[in-house]
Amino acid sequence: MPQFAKLKVGDALPERRRTADTVTLFMFNAAIWNPHRIHYDHPYTTEVEHHPALLIDGPLIGDWLSQTVLEWLGEDGELTFFRYSNRKAAYVNDEVVTGGNVAAIDADKREVTLSLFVRDKDGDNITPGGARVRLRA
């Protein structure tokens, strides 16, 4: 719950660990109606498309990243812009950490720009992102 007057560039958002098992992959792909086999068919994924394991959907990782912003924001403002870019794959049961920090503050508009990351076990930012939020007066 950010207090606008106290925010500083560089302030960190709370981090959250995330992982997707096969049940989560099933639920997410059912929810978005995505029958792409690389998210649930292990023999097809490894033998035909030659991935090491089932892939976590890029948009699921994007959603996890958006939650970093939404949970920090709570009811104190609104999300006006969000972007993410899937740069490196994550696989079923991999653990990643989502987080970010304040990149810019526009006092007149009460707008905050955030820089976001999804870090994997190698320390790579597999899904960089950004967001803009407007805090209520």
Binding site: R18, T24, M27, F28, A30, A31, I32, W33, N34, P35, H36, R37, I38, D41, Y44, V48, E49, D57, G58, P59, L60, G62, D63, W64, S66, Q67, L70, E71, G74, E78, L79, T80, F81, F82, R83, Y84, S85, N86, T127
Partner: protein, 152 residues
Amino acid sequence: MEPLLTPEIRSAIGRSLPPLKVEVHRSDIRKYAVATGQRLRKYTDGDEAPPLLLFGLFRPVVPRERMRPDGIQEDTALIPVLPLKRIMAGGVETEYHRPIRAGDVLVATQRLVELYEKEGSSGPLIFIVTENRVETEAGDLVAVERTTRIAR
């Protein structure tokens, strides 16, 4: 090397689909909220949709016989048949103008914004950029979403 994107394929850039209408149900929001591990009450109760629910809201629903062997539902009405077949998520950027709530009836206009090719580390890639402009039935702007997919 010959470009993968022929003039015929490139002629699809800029085309749009007739508007699609979708009703947002509380049960859809609740399922998405569980699947994505939301913790805010307004999402888990299904009153308001997590902003990224938009990604799946207007995805095509095609009969089984029209799905590809890999399970992808090819949306040839918007994206032309491409010479590269393996599709990966690239990313999404969205401007949000108003939250989506249970019971909303939303209208989306989808447009093919861009197709371009790049040489990747393991071969050529085609980038497919689509835009989804979402409004309420009354014409109020809800969100403008740009999605990038990568074919390899």
